[in-house]
């Protein structure tokens, strides 16, 4: 159960989120939709516990949470496989995740040797390998072609079938890949 109850947040004197309430469904995706700077990413960070609300309350019962950030956030000194193994010891899950994003052959490469799209797939594979009972996605498909978007969205929906997914994107097509309920900010 993830509930945001009249949550507000400000960076210094600048309010970013004001009096926002939301209860996530037990399973299925919601898409936070809105103009740039309206606080979508901040809401994800609040749910993840990376920011503390200035007012209101967040209840998050998720034990294990996977998150795909806007940036890839890969350790440049670790190979693709080791970047995934940073978050999990489950080797089988790592191999499955690499296959799901079609990166089996790049498993021993360092992030700097990969294209932007490939690095994005590693970040997505990390969430797939980790699993968990809540998935937070912030502009997850930047730099990917349509076929890969469909392929990876299907893998994510399968892996996180019984848990809530929160998606932040500017593309309604991407939201449709998750059958997401739109929440306008």
């Amino acid at each position: 159960m993830v509930t945001l109850d009249r949550v507000s947040f400000a960076y210094g004197d600048t309010p970013v989120v004001t009096d926002f309430s939301l209860t996530l469904p037990e399973s299925g995706a919601v898409c936070l939709f809105g103009a740039s700077g309206c606080g979508k990413t901040t809401l994800l960070r609040l749910i993840a516990g990376l920011e503390v609300p200035t007012a209101g309350r967040i209840q998050c019962d998720a034990q294990r949470m996977a998150m795909v950030f806007q940036e890839d956030r890969l350790a440049p000194w670790l190979t693709v496989r080791h970047n995934l193994m940073l978050v999990t010891d489950d080797r089988t899950a790592v191999e499955h995740a690499l296959r799901a994003v079609s990166l089996e052959r790049a498993a021993e490469q360092l992030p700097d040797a990969l294209s932007g799209g490939m690095r994005r797939r590693v970040a997505l594979a990390r969430a797939l390998a980790f699993g968990g009972d809540l998935l937070l996605l912030d502009e997850p498909f930047n730099g990917l072609d349509d076929a890969l978007k469909v392929q990876i969205a299907a893998a994510l929906r399968k892996r996180f079938a019984d848990c809530p997914i929160v998606l932040v994107t500017h593309s309604s097509d991407e939201a449709k890949l998750f059958d997401a309920t739109f929440i306008n900010l």
Partner: protein, 256 residues
């Protein structure tokens, strides 16, 4: 391709030899002009003195003891500097308390420390302590910078995925700090060596390169002063090259 690499290497060696010959020539010329071994001995006289020192046990014992003292001080500084860097980045109060100490060590002349420690501690330990003191701030500042420059985005990702602290340390912090630590090692070794020998010259422990330098000076054996100085320079180059080799290996390993 291979031929051109070998040719390049040959050219580099030839250039190095030519430069060495040029400077030895200048030295020879000066010695010939002055014609006083007390002021400037000829290269031949220095080599002869060095050859006469080589078979003596005292020569090797002095080198060994100087190396042991300075390397001990160097490694102690690596350990303490790293620990202090961790503490000062983690706790701002520790930083506030210790930062004046850092400024004092960096600003005060090495001779002041040597003279002060002459009063406090055993002569044999002073060179190690001085080497420690000179390397400590270098390691401290560099490791601190390395910790500060660790990618916040990666640390936040690790927090989101609840990566265990030990793994965050070994797979994120240590690889991130490593280049800063290795730079500190390479820079610090030169300082340790020079300050350690300077301390030996002043406090004169029994078996020490610095003591031999001072004895040669007192007895006006200028060729011996030159010979021991040559030994100091040669050892400094050897140690620096060895450390650079380890550093390069480590850096390559870190990227693998």
């Amino acid at each position: 391709m291979m031929r051109s690499t070998m040719w390049d290497k040959l050219k580099t060696v030839a250039r190095g030899v030519a430069v060495a010959v040029f400077w030895i020539g200048i030295w020879w010329l000066l010695a010939a002009l002055v014609q006083q071994e007390l002021l400037i001995p000829t290269p031949a006289a220095v080599v002869q003195t060095l050859l006469s020192l080589l078979p003596t046990a005292m020569f090797w014992q002095s080198i060994a003891m100087s190396l042991v003292r300075i390397v001990l001080g160097f490694f102690a500084a690596l350990a303490c500097g790293t620990l202090l860097a961790v503490l000062t980045t983690r706790f701002s109060s520790v930083r506030a308390v210790l930062s004046p100490l850092l400024h004092i060590i960096r600003a005060a002349p090495v001779a002041s420390f040597i003279i002060l420690t002459l009063v406090w501690i055993d002569y044999d330990i002073i060179p190690a302590f001085i080497a420690f003191l000179m390397v400590l701030p270098i390691v401290w500042v560099n490791v601190e910078e390395g910790i500060r420059r660790t990618d916040r985005g990666l640390l936040e990702m690790a927090a989101a995925y609840a990566v265990p602290k030990r793994r965050v340390l070994t797979r994120l912090y240590i690889p991130s700090v490593k280049p800063f630590f290795l730079t500190a090692c390479v820079n610090g070794l030169g300082f340790a060596w020079k300050s350690g020998i300077a301390a030996e010259v002043i406090c004169r422990p029994d078996l020490a390169i610095g003591n031999r330098l001072q004895l040669a000076k007192i007895t006006l054996e200028t060729p011996e002063v030159f010979a021991w100085t040559a030994v100091v320079i040669a050892l400094s180059i050897v140690l620096e090259k060895a450390l650079l080799r380890v550093a390069r290996k480590e850096a390559a390993h870190g990227n693998a």
